[in-house]
Structure formats: structure tokens, C-alpha cells
């Protein structure tokens, strides 16, 4: 059974939602405290949403130096999958596991509502269950979601097809305000080159079961559950 570690920082508040979504797709999911040094043999790591360290200094800036993040860095360097959702995405950028940064929303307001996004890359560990071009309606809830990066970084992300999710332009079928935060190129999520590290601002774990409406976010979890660790990946539990 796949081991999924959900890292809990002081101020995480989507840890149980992420845990439940990962359990629902048949993985062995468990919480790991930010001061732990070990991921306890995790195959996949989820950095959940929330407000780690009260968003002091910059969102994710302090969580990035938590002891557990050294283990997450090693895990990612060895090709292990990491999904950062919302605050998790901010932490991945601060940790330089993904390029760019997430700044205060252009409209200054905290934005909490459903948005329509397009899956632009369906060959990552976390999006393989979707068809490329699939449209999803996912909730966002953030104050610092404006993705920015240097011009050459943006060109690289586009050229290498590393935009995983993009806010869909407004249309009759998509009544919600497009691009809720002023992100460059309407970017809602990106990946590393290998497609193993993915950061997204929307919250798929909040719409991962039909009780909560259309389970548009479930695919992130069925995708990770279908991922097969390579035989060469070290996976030794160290409890």
C-alpha cells in the first residue's frame, strides 16, 4: 500500500481534509509533525493548505526551514512526489522546489470561492487521472495567490509545458471571475520538469467526494494512488 505523509505545520488547517482524501483512494495516509526529521517511509508527500507560522514574514517563508522540510527536500531530490496545496504551494516556492513566488492578491482581498481551471498537464504524478484540457471547478481560499516569476522563468515554464492548472478565461459556461488573484499568465499551478513536484493554489481535497458536490478534485488523489514507486527509489521506513 502506498504511504502518503501529510505534513502538519503549526497553522495548517487542511491537513485532515488532505488525509481523508488520500485515505479514500486506498492509501496508507498519516500525519507527520513539522518538527519530525523523518517522513517514515513516505512514497508521496502532501504539504496541505493553511497559514503555517501565521504567514509571518511571507507565506511559507518560515515553514520552509522546519526540520521536516530537509526530509522533504531529500525526498523530492530522489524523485519522490510532493503535492503542495495553497500554503503548501507557497512553501514549495519558498523552498526553491518550484520556481517563482506567490504574492498578495492583486485585489488585496482574501478570495474564497469556486474557480474554473483547465488541466494543462496530465502527465504529472498528481494529474494523470485527468484528460489534458479537462475543466475543473475547484475552490480557492487564499490571500497570497498571485503567482509571479521572472520573465525568463515564465517563458521556461510555458515552453516546457510546466503549467499544470490555469484559471479559465471568463465565459458563459464559466461565470466565476477568472484569475482571482492576478497571477502571471493566469497560472494556478505548476510542476517541476519531471512532473513529480506539483504546487497548486486551488483545493482539490475540499471537493474529493460526491457528498460535497461534483468531486472535481478527486482525480488528484486517484492519480497519486495510481503512482508506482520506481524500484530504485529508497523506501525504508525508519520509525
Amino acid at each position: 500500500m502506498l504511504n502518503v505523509a501529510v505534513v502538519r505545520f503549526p497553522g495548517s488547517n487542511c491537513d485532515f481534509d488532505s488525509l481523508r482524501a488520500a485515505e479514500q483512494v486506498g492509501t496508507n495516509a498519516y500525519l507527520v509533525w513539522h518538527r519530525d526529521a523523518s517522513l517514515r517511509g513516505a512514497d508521496v508527500v502532501i504539504l496541505p493548505g493553511g497559514f503555517s507560522y501565521g504567514d509571518y514574514l511571507r507565506s511559507g517563508a518560515i515553514a520552509r526551514f522546519s526540520p521536516i522540510m530537509q526530509a522533504v527536500q531529500r525526498h523530492a531530490a530522489e524523485g519522490g512526489p510532493v503535492l503542495g496545496i495553497c500554503n503548501g504551494f507557497q512553501i514549495l516556492c519558498e523552498a526553491h522546489l518550484l520556481p517563482g513566488a506567490l504574492m498578495r492578491n492583486a485585489g488585496l482581498s482574501f478570495v474564497s470561492k469556486p474557480v474554473d481551471v483547465v488541466v494543462e498537464r496530465a502527465d504529472t504524478v498528481f494529474t494523470s487521472a485527468y484528460a489534458e484540457g479537462a475543466r475543473l471547478r475547484l475552490p480557492v481560499a487564499h490571500g497570497d495567490g498571485r503567482f509571479v516569476a521572472a520573465e525568463d522563468t515564465l517563458r521556461m515554464l510555458e515552453a516546457e509545458g510546466r503549467v499544470v492548472l490555469r484559471y479559465e478565461p471568463a465565459s458563459e459556461a464559466s461565470p466565476f471571475q477568472p484569475n482571482p488573484n492576478g497571477s502571471a499568465n493566469h497560472i494556478a499551478g505548476i510542476s517541476n520538469a519531471a512532473g513529480t513536484v506539483v504546487g497548486i493554489m486551488p483545493h482539490p481535497e475540499r471537493v474529493a467526494e460526491s457528498l460535497l458536490g461534483a468531486p472535481d478534485g478527486l482525480g488528484f488523489f486517484t492519480s497519486l494512488a495510481a503512482w508506482e514507486p520506481r524500484a530504485s527509489t529508497p523506501n525504508v521506513p525508519s520509525r
Binding site: R58, R104, N105, A149
Partner: protein
């Protein structure tokens, strides 16, 4: 020796600063229409034990590069005072 260091962290000039814009609009609404180019950043003060002023400055630069400023979005300025 102990040195007091003032760090000024500002959003990079090329990036949208919505906080600065909001403050500028508020100033204008209060009758200060002459104010323009408002930008909002962050000031950090700290005391650093170091053998020399140059060493204190070098250490705080490392702190800025690693934690206090985000090199993707922010620039910083340092001012070091002898204690």
C-alpha cells in the same frame, strides 16, 4: 561588539504592489492628491554580535538572502550602526 542593523525590504519595482496602490488611493481620498508612487515594504531591526561592522553587514546579507527577503520578489537595503 554589538551592532544594530536596520533592514528595509521592498517589493521589486517592476512588480505590482497592490498595497501601495491602495494606500495611494486612500491618501488621495483624504485630500493628499500630491502623493504618488506609494510602495509598501517591511522594516526589520536586529542586533548582531560581530567582530566588526563589515562582518555584521556580511552576516545580515546572508540572513536577507536566506530568509528576510525573497530574491524573486523583493530587494533589500541595510544600514549598520555601532552599538
Amino acid at each position: 561588539m554589538s551592532y544594530r542593523v536596520h533592514v528595509r525590504v521592498m517589493p521589486r519595482a517592476s512588480l505590482l504592489d497592490p498595497q501601495g496602490q491602495a494606500v495611494e488611493h486612500a491618501l488621495s481620498a483624504l485630500g493628499f492628491g500630491e502623493a504618488g508612487g506609494v510602495r509598501v515594504g517591511r522594516a526589520i531591526e536586529l542586533e548582531v554580535a560581530a567582530a566588526s561592522q563589515a562582518e555584521a553587514e556580511a552576516r545580515v546579507r546572508q540572513m536577507c538572502d536566506k530568509l528576510l527577503a525573497n530574491p524573486v520578489t523583493e530587494d533589500y537595503l541595510l544600514q549598520v550602526e555601532g552599538a
